[in-house]
Subunit: 675 residues, 2 copies
């Protein structure tokens, strides 16, 4: 149906009207005015570029047009957009005043106006125009026969300047095509910083020509060549994304020390260094008392820095447990000689020696919060990450950083590897509550970064762990701080998830690949139903203290087909809530339909398991759920008495660790029904 | 259930026993003996390499182990296999006498023996060992709780030495990750030649440092850098695959001439050359009378040849319609001066000048069959491709080539872009029937190549057009010529298709992405049902003479979700055949169940189309099918009289071109039911 807009509706960023709610925009723009007509798309739709933009706008406009063609099947006549001012009568006009500079300092604002016969994008520079095109593509709507844009006027700009995603290419190597499609995903939700974690205990992932041993001995053959690095940096820049490389030192050093044991802190005669195959915090640490350490790092930085045009270089600096330092008498002697009382002081000594190595290349040092000491130069960026899981107050380092004059980026609360629900990430705001900050201190909070640690993710599953939750984090970092409505976010996120698939992300399609493998190519419907109510164990539980999964262990199991925010769990939880508030039949039926579905699902899984060993680990949970469902049906539908004790005994089973490494996401609601 | 083998069954390559039939091996090995026990897989399963193999065996063994781990979830203790003779007690022993040489000349045989506690691979060299590992991975079986290999003794070697796949990277650019996953697919079915079509009218796809204009002006930004070429060649070599580059000259030249119009045959003052956006045979041709043509080609070859270690270089040479030559008086004068009577003679003159350019780099010239003339040196390889669609006798050029002392490769009958059924490709044998050839002539038939022309394929759809049909072609080229049973092939192909998905091919998973787009993210079940009885228009019909699709037109439509060999059509056709032979109720029900399914499907598609413009083009066909199904149900189930004339009128509708670009694959069976 065509929308009939009878009123001019002005929307402030504090609330969403019904019309704005029907738009699935994420991040929500600062200001959206919905008007009363539509712009109809036809095959004659053309794009024209004017003004003074960077050349990247031409590629972006072409990609936009082709994606629109793929969604609408309209067969646009226009092929490639490559010349300025080529079609002054084109329906979509993009005008940029100047060239934009990728990074966190330039203007990213835009003005988007959709009228019934014309669309206008005005931006200070092409960065804003790129953002406008992403917004426009999210505006697409349709009726039975046509595609169109609703007429709107949008003014938009980001709240935070650092809106990042970190991908760990070390624990599980992520090839270039994986990186590129995730850069596309970032651009789709207006993220602008890609933090590339390139070295860790489990692998050194970047070619260093002067030190070929690093990849020869410490990469198991999986690493990025310098050409590939350049290709990714160029690709990112075309989408307005700055790349920040990370070489994590002095801890997390198993890989670099496998290649160069001579700069390690382990005493000779001890077990030789080897590339780590397990997760966790490991002992290997660089020797800060050895001049060779600094020589090699300097030579590495000399090669890595020129590959990255951005001004930031991340040196890691986290989780150095100091054990190797404590056990090494030479290092202890060095500490005493240099009046370095603690390991923290020694690490500071080490970090400070890296600063000029990077400054030489025009890079500012960035590091995880452990680098924050009195002597650290104020232009270092502090990456705040520790919180409850580390026994510390979340965001404490963030406040400490800005109060001490540093710039800081928040990742605590955006640890997407922990498989927490999107709500927790969405409501996690970089601006601390209950703390008074000056304007300058507030300006020191640059933004945040979602961190995709890859101990348990492979190219097959990584997109499902990043998306769609990171789109909600992107909104937190772009949109106004009053945009916090969870129901609206969930509704829009569902649509955005489909947009992300269309641009090439595999978070939806790859699940079926895993399910087909698990079901041994029998029907996957029941398995799919089960994944929709299970979530992988959260935080660090799945890996059982780093003991269960080696870096080469299989990640094609039921838990890998599950994601955070199990789809049916969200719906079931709502249904149970409604039912418990109002037990009328229509509410009851929604609940009992799920219970019946799970009983049938269990029968089916049991049947299929006769020919599918990988279904076996999920059967105990499925069987138990079937029993619980049966009992609940008796009491809800048949109004029979049941043994509450037995029911609760069955429910308790869900709290015992099961071999499928997943938790039942509808557990709480079942408990409520069982009361 | 464990298999109980009571007898020792010796199987010759002429027939398959029941036990062998339960194995889903493709290509079928030369000799398979199935024994009476099984090898149980546990997490202690290890691999050991011994002998004198090329280092590629270590990577291949590691990949094999990891894939096995992903399929079984056994958590194998062994990580990376990197040292020879590391585990002399390992259950899987791989022994190679010597290093293998990638190409078409080396021994590729292997001996695979699976016993109850040991697996032995013996091969002359690592090429055979690689093949053995692929066979072994296809042998995997399971019962309810365990995975195992059946005990077998297999001796195997290929029938033909040239077992190729050509990918056209020009019409639609195919990025490196697409090429690599298809190399994986090729290796899985023991193919060993990758023919890379790098330049054509629609785009020049390879970086030439001395001539940057080629990519700057004629690639629309999509091309392979020389580093990427090297990376792909290395990746292919690790899998025992030889890469043959193709630069198609002197026709198919729109792209090269966009960069270098000065070496074209168009007269000045005429329309300037431009990268072609349409399919078909185009006029642009290089000027063979201009010395600059040869200079530039020589410089291009000087850069391209060293990137490819194999001995063959394909210069194309097809479909030069001669129009530009005929219209150019200078060229006509040149012909007369050099006593070259026809355009064919002139092209031969041109081709012969290329020979020393390639010989300089140790390359033998290969070209499409049009290059075959008296003067062409006998070490040129003739690529036989023309047949019925070109108004010629299929395979005629093949026979002519070997009778004239050439080596030849067959692609006619393996044109997988034409969307023909797998049966036609499977039964197409490179050895001509009804022709008497000497042993030497037979040896001149090196093998065959499936050709993936990409006018209508993108990275999203290409795998579904190559696989799984190319696996059947791989069997034709590897297995004995008596292996021709269609039912066995179809049964095994279904399993092999799943194996191909597991190693990374997207032919199954990407269909759902397209369907979700078409259904506008509503339910896709009915669309999926419809794709299972429709096939894209075959041969050159879909593109309507090259007029419908430009190179940038959308290929995310219903026809792109369909493939050759529509899955339900195969089953329905069998069901109708059975029913017409024997009209008992059980056979009738299978048929009528489909008819009812299609009536419900049409209702559902009509409902969904209210919110999905991309469903509209399939509705006429779906509606019509529903009507036909309804009438057939009346006569089959209800034994009512219906108007045969009306029914046939409805059936005739399917013969009119519909906007969905697909044909109804169950049409013939419906016609039979309507008689």
């Amino acid at each position: 149906m065509k929308y009939l807009f009878l009123l001019l509706i002005v929307v402030s960023s504090n609330a969403q009207t019904k019309k704005e709610q029907q738009l699935s925009l994420m991040p929500l723009p600062q200001k959206v005015v919905v008007l009363n007509h539509t712009f109809l798309l036809t095959k004659d739709f053309k794009i024209n570029i004017s003004g003074n933009p960077d050349s990247r706008i031409f590629k972006a406009a072409t990609v936009f047009l082709r994606r629109l063609d793929e969604r609408t099947g309209l067969f646009f006549n226009q092929g490639f957009i490559s010349k300025k001012d080529e079609f002054p009568e084109a329906q979509l006009q993009i005008n940029c005043l100047q060239k934009g500079e990728t990074g966190i300092h330039d203007d990213e604002s835009y003005h988007l106006s959709v009228q019934s016969n014309k669309i206008q994008i005005e931006a200070t520079n092409d960065l804003g125009a790129l953002h406008a095109l992403e917004t426009l593509s999210q505006l697409l709507q349709n009726n039975r026969t046509s595609f169109y844009f609703p007429s709107v006027v949008i003014e938009d700009k980001p709240r935070f300047s650092w809106r990042g995603l970190m991908i760990d290419g070390s624990r599980h190597f992520q090839p270039v095509n994986v990186i590129k499609r995730n850069l596309d995903g970032m651009a789709a939700v207006k993220m602008n910083v890609f933090h590339w974690h390139l070295a860790d205990d489990q692998g050194w992932r970047i070619e260093i020509k002067k030190h070929p041993k690093l990849t020869e001995l410490a990469s198991n053959g999986s690493f990025y060549t310098q050409e590939e690095i350049k290709e990714v940096v160029k690709y990112a820049d075309e989408k307005g994304i700055m790349v920040v490389p990370e070489i994590d030192v002095p801890g997390h050093a198993s890989a670099i020390l496998t290649a160069y044991p001579e700069i390690g802190s382990r005493l000779s005669g001890e077990e030789p260094y080897a590339v780590e195959i397990r997760s966790g915090i490991h002992n290997p640490a660089l020797d800060p008392s050895n001049p060779l350490t600094y020589q090699i790092l300097s030579e590495i930085f000399d090669e890595v820095c020129p590959l990255f045009p951005g001004p930031y270089f991340h040196i890691g600096g986290d989780e150095n447990n100091g054990k190797e330092w404590d056990a090494n008498h030479k290092i202890q002697k060095f500490k005493r000689k240099n009046h370095l009382e603690t390991n923290h002081d020694l690490q500071t000594y080490f970090n400070l020696k890296l600063v000029p190595m990077l400054e030489k290349h025009g890079k500012k040092l960035m590091g995880w919060e452990e680098i924050m000491t009195k002597e650290m130069p104020k232009n270092a960026v502090i990456h705040s990450w520790r919180g409850v899981n580390e026994g510390l107050e979340p965001g404490a380092s963030l406040v400490k950083a800005v109060k001490n004059g540093y710039k800081t980026v928040l990742s605590n609360g955006y640890y997407i590897d922990l498989m927490l629900g999107v709500d927790s990430h969405y409501l996690n705001d970089p601006m601390p509550e209950n703390v008074v900050l000056t304007q300058e201190e507030k300006a020191g909070i640059l933004g945040g970064e979602a961190t995709m640690w890859s101990e348990l993710v492979t190219p097959l599953t990584i997109d499902s762990r990043i998306w769609p939750r990171t789109a909600a984090i992107a909104e937190r970092l772009w949109s106004n701080d009053t945009v916090t409505n969870l129901e609206s976010m969930h509704k829009r996120l569902k649509q955005i998830s489909f947009r992300l698939e269309e641009i090439g992300l595999t978070h939806i399609r790859n699940k079926q690949v895993i399910l087909r493998n698990i079901s041994n190519y029998q029907d996957t419907q029941s398995l799919n139903d089960f994944t929709n109510i299970c979530e992988p164990y959260k935080i660090y539980k799945r890996n059982g203290g780093g003991k269960k999964y080696m870096m080469y262990s299989p990640l094609t199991l039921f838990a890998d087909a599950c994601t955070a925010d199990a789809a049916d769990a969200y719906e079931f939880n709502k249904a149970v809530k409604n039912y418990l508030e109002n037990k009328e039949l229509v509410n009851q039926k929604i609940v009992t339909d799920y219970l019946k579905k799970w009983i049938a699902m269990d029968l089916d899984l049991t049947r299929l398991s006769a020919n599918a060993p990988l279904i076996q680990p999920v059967l105990p949970m499925s069987n138990n759920l079937s029993k619980v469902s049966g009992l609940l049906l008796q009491t809800i539908e048949n109004k029979r008495n049941i043994s509450k004790a037995y029911l609760n005994e069955l429910l308790e089973q869900f709290n015992i660790r099961n071999p499928a490494d997943v938790e039942l996401a509808v557990y709480d609601s079942l408990k409520k029904l069982a009361e």
